[in-house]
Symmetry: C2
Subunit: 174 residues, 2 copies
């Protein structure tokens, strides 16, 4: 994690065998090459033996090419795609807990409605809100909520899907 200015953000989608230690090997590969991972999300696919990682990382092109080559060589990696320059949809999910005294509730509910977010928990002093969307939307609601006092934020990191060319969940061999 961490970001340097003037370097390009890459979105890399990696299909891996759902096996022990894969995550450590992959994140180790990035850090060994001095490539900062901004966000990483690993989730299941419809095949329980296969997971998909979405990695957003910042660094220079040629280093990334080396990393991609090395990723391909890892035995548990099925497919690697740098979708940065493709037409893709990207989304993120955030849970945010904010201070919500009586006088602020109406204002907060208005913000939640405007952003098509959801209130998922209510306490006498706080509201917890769930919002999914592009990073710019998440950042925008965060900015509007900040003045009320943010108690806690949990974000998933971005996931991305190319618009046209789907990635079949097929294994290299088996």
């Amino acid at each position: 994690m961490g970001a340097k200015k003037g370097m390009m953000k890459h979105v890399i989608s990696v299909l891996v065998e759902n096996k022990f230690g894969v995550l450590a090997r992959i994140s180790g590969l990035f850090s060994a090459r001095g490539f900062n991972i901004d966000s990483l999300a690993v989730g299941e696919t419809d095949d329980p033996t296969v997971s998909r990682m979405t990695i957003v990382a910042e660094g220079n092109e040629s280093t990334l090419e080396q990393i991609t080559k090395q990723l391909h060589k890892l035995i548990d990696v099925i497919k690697v795609q740098d979708i940065t320059n493709q037409d893709y949809i990207d989304r993120e999910l955030m849970l945010i807990k904010v201070n919500a005294g009586k006088k602020d509730r109406a204002k907060l509910i208005q913000i939640v409605d405007t952003f098509k977010a959801n209130i998922i928990d209510v306490n006498p002093e706080t509201l917890s809100i769930e919002i999914a969307g592009e990073q710019s939307k998440i950042d925008a609601i965060m900015e509007l909520l900040a003045p009320f006092g943010i108690r806690e934020i949990v974000r998933t990191g971005r996931i991305a899907m190319a618009r046209k060319k789907e990635v079949a969940i097929k294994k290299k061999s088996s």
Copy 2:
């Protein structure tokens, strides 16, 4: 990743300094102890120098205790919480692209509406759907969509937030 039967799933929330190599060190720690990571999501917080990881991992209690202790010792780790036994909200985000020929569109839109999901992309042959919710909800819509033919799935992995006790984003020292 990967899961053994008869072991407990733990949800661990880790606040870390947003620094180079942290992710590799943390995932390495789990794999060195033979602890399988089911899902992992790393996202920003309102402090750009701090990130939060939500790790869902399966394994035995005493090993996890050792891992937690070691996590605490890592210099870039600010706070570790095993929230498994707390009252927490957990959510996940999924993007799913399904086959959508003319005759299936109406049925698909009905499913999308029922689950309060969103259609985020339309092609002549496919629909792309975004859905956020608890894992059971995500699994349920996936099951209903499967018969249409799933082209691609990207999931974030779970993120979780304790209902009551908020975690202040404060650093150990500075």
